[in-house]
Symmetry: C2
Subunit: 477 residues, 2 copies
């Protein structure tokens, strides 16, 4: 292995200190989504800056401006940028993380105080932000601690970008990343990016993530009468907007998950044997999925099909209808204007730009076929492009080697079904290879009650991230 | 004409007195749906009893018991029963009406105080209950006023049943009607029923109504995962309940209003030329419908088809979905359990008893065809049978003759698309002919702001109801 034994031993020796520092971090209630805690997020950005400065990193705060929440202006927490090393003979690695957290109250169903890190006998470190994302951020700090205390040079040039608004839409970050990626910016010379802000598929096998789906979200509006009508008085006299909308929505996706809009599914290549093998190898079973969803309702009993459904295929979900009767009980209304909500998760080469026209054309054709006198309109709500990294790049090779070295097993190579928009921003602004190297397990409950990070994931995860830097130096020098 | 000229002249002469009395009735805020006005509804039941007693009718209060509203027991307003005459040589006519009203506040958008009858220069009598249903009830009182003051015998035996809970589900009335219809009951010997509690199709032509649709209301439940899922994480891995539900709902009714459940539409006879002619003759146009719905979205441009759609055909409306995303904005949820709400308006020979099994069979078959692993269940929510009266009966002949005599034109013979459940209760409990003979116009705004009754409808309507009684005596003696 490329990482020195002294580093690995140091991490084991310092474990309790690292956990105490994580406890200090968790104690700062840096909830970005609640204005009353904004000062705590800002306090947290100072704490992070001070901690990284203390281990020899040159750090700066970058002001991200203000946001308006419920009519009030709020200061955005500054991002923390850091750099250490500028050796032209070394690769320059940018790491990203966030120091804000989801809201949490004991009364939500937590077994312990969410902002007091509780160390359980089974090794779980329970507290808000332990896994998402203070633990991984502190993993990088732990690595730097060793090199600072032991006066060892890092094997790479280190850059970091930590933000305090990730749980609230990463406000201001895109512009910052674009700015700092330009010549003369903080990220000049970066060779690759590592993001540690997602999770293993399960509780057993480490993961390297090389893809995220994009999204395109639509509102499908059908309207007819000037006001809601009584079904007794007007039933079978008028074209009912709900009838038209339901007919259109039924033509978007079939029960097996196939997207019925022409050329959408077709746009995606069929997995060859080599790619299928990637999914076959995953330490992931139908039982894992059933346990996560709480029912036996997977689209297939073939684990490769199910995994590919999430990771390399687009999906279309019907979310609901605005304007129709949604309460309990019985109301005999003919709604006058109804808005169907649906979205498509995108995979390369799909983007909102090439998918939206197909959706619009299809909806217009299908509505014309209905022969209704109502009015129909499709509105694009929002979206984002998918991302897939090049797994043949040395960045991935380094992460794979590090995983084998630390965990003694082959990592699951995964693509996520959701989106982490900043990933694409880094990939596009910097034009370099990006990977996701998570620290936590699939059952950490990142946005849920009793969020935890296992002690072994924190400690071995620190070794993993450190070893990854050494492997980069070993491969790519 | 069968009605004596003295009666008709009396009504004209007494018009201002009648309007003053309607004003007194409107001033009592007998809102049955609001517990704070319950004492006013009871006050109104005393006022009605006293008024009918004063013109020689033997009246009684019938206690209907109590109801529970928001955990509190509330006394139901007593029904007022009346009788006058017991001549075996005369027909016995039962009239029904109600003395409670819908809620009304000036702030709802009324131009005048809703509980102060405002007489406008154009003849409109504006006030809550003027048309629904205090005006028609007082129409009967006006007729009795003449016979009492002029010491004339009524041409029929008169029975009346006035309730104070019609706007709140007619609580307690069904049981009362059934009880009083039995031998020895107040309604013993009744030969026909006349209900004046609906409206003309338009503002021009009087109406006699001989049918009402029934209803059967369903909840269609599809459930899969144990909790709502994120579409990024689980899209195209699981059977989505919304996809299944939308597929099923799309198979219930087509855009033209045809019900796709086998044997439902078929159960209804096709209108022959004679019946079509009834609809052809209606003073009712596509423009009338378009004006009522505020759009040009009728299912057909043929007025007969459109009128038959409401009056003699079943209709299926999709009301909405419980459990799905219904807000504004965009949420990327896969709802775990969704409940589609739909109902079918029924016409003879359809009843919930013969329709529900067809719906259930079809849903089960269609769901099986989908091949989904989710669970699907159909629940019957509530329903009621349709009603159609025999228009060849002398009761209808009398109402038609009376309309011709008073208005000088042929009445529109209509069936309503909605339900007035008490109609069926009278028809079934008494086993006699029932008809609906409305006083007000189609634009009276019964449940809306600025409810009105036109002075001419109140005065000519009084003559119509009186003449109807004389025509019965003339035809059926």
């Amino acid at each position: 292995m490329a990482a020195p034994k002294e580093f690995l031993d140091f991490v084991d020796t310092k474990a309790d200190f690292f956990i105490q520092r994580l406890s200090d971090a968790v104690a700062i209630k840096s909830v970005s989504g609640d204005p009353q805690y904004r000062s705590k997020v800002i306090e947290m950005s100072h704490w992070i800056k001070d901690q990284f400065s203390a281990v020899g990193v040159e750090t700066v705060h970058r002001d991200l401006g203000k946001q308006t929440v419920e009519g009030k202006e709020l200061q955005l927490p500054p991002a923390v940028l850091g750099r250490l090393g500028n050796d032209p003979g070394k690769k320059t690695v940018l790491v990203y993380g966030h120091f804000d957290v989801q809201p949490a109250n004991r009364s939500d169903g937590w077994d312990t105080e969410p902002f007091e890190l509780t160390v359980k006998e089974n090794g779980q470190l329970i507290g808000r932000g332990s896994s998402d994302d203070k633990g991984p951020v502190l993993g990088w700090l732990n690595i730097l601690q060793y090199h600072h205390e032991q006066k060892k040079e890092l094997p790479v040039n280190f850059r970091c970008c930590f933000e305090g608004m990730e749980e609230s839409g990463s406000e201001g970050l895109d512009a910052l990343v674009e700015r700092e990626s330009k010549p003369g910016g903080w990220f000049e010379g970066v060779d690759c990016v590592c993001i540690s802000d997602n999770y293993w598929l399960n509780t057993r096998t480490p993961v390297i993530t090389y893809g995220l789906r994009g999204l395109t979200y639509f509102k499908l509006i059908v309207e007819g009468p000037a006001r809601d009508l009584h079904s007794g008085v007007f039933g079978r006299m008028v074209h009912e907007p709900m009838t038209d909308l339901i007919a259109l929505m039924s033509k978007l996706v079939d029960v097996k998950g196939n997207i019925l809009i022409p050329d959408v599914d077709n746009m995606v290549s069929i997995a060859d044997d080599k790619e299928r093998e990637l999914y076959e190898r995953l330490d992931y079973s139908i039982a894992d999925v059933e346990s996560a969803i709480g029912s036996s309702t997977t689209l297939s009993s073939d684990k490769v099909e199910v995994a590919m459904g999430r990771m390399r295929m687009p999906s279309l979900s019907l979310h609901g209808i605005e304007g129709a009767f949604y309460g309990t009980g019985a109301k005999t209304v003919i709604p006058a204007k109804v808005i169907g909500k649906f979205s498509i998760r995108l995979v390369p080469p799909q983007t909102p730009d090439n998918i939206n026209p197909l959706v619009e054309k299809y909806i217009n054709e299908e509505f014309a076929k209905l022969g209704s006198k109502n009015k129909c309109k499709l509105e694009f709500e929002h979206g984002g492009k998918p991302w897939v990294g090049d797994i043949s790049h040395w960045n991935y090779e380094a992460a794979q080697r590090a995983t084998r070295a630390v965990y003694g097993k082959e990592p699951d190579m995964t693509r996520e079904g959701g989106s982490i928009p900043v990933t694409l921003t880094f990939a596009e602004s910097l034009g370099v290879n990006v990977l996701l190297l998570p620290m936590g397990r699939g059952d950490d409950g990142a946005h849920s009650t009793n969020e935890k990070l296992d002690r072994s994931n924190f400690i071995e995860g620190t070794k993993l991230l450190g070893t990854y830097l050494y492997e980069i130096a070993a491969i790519a020098k």
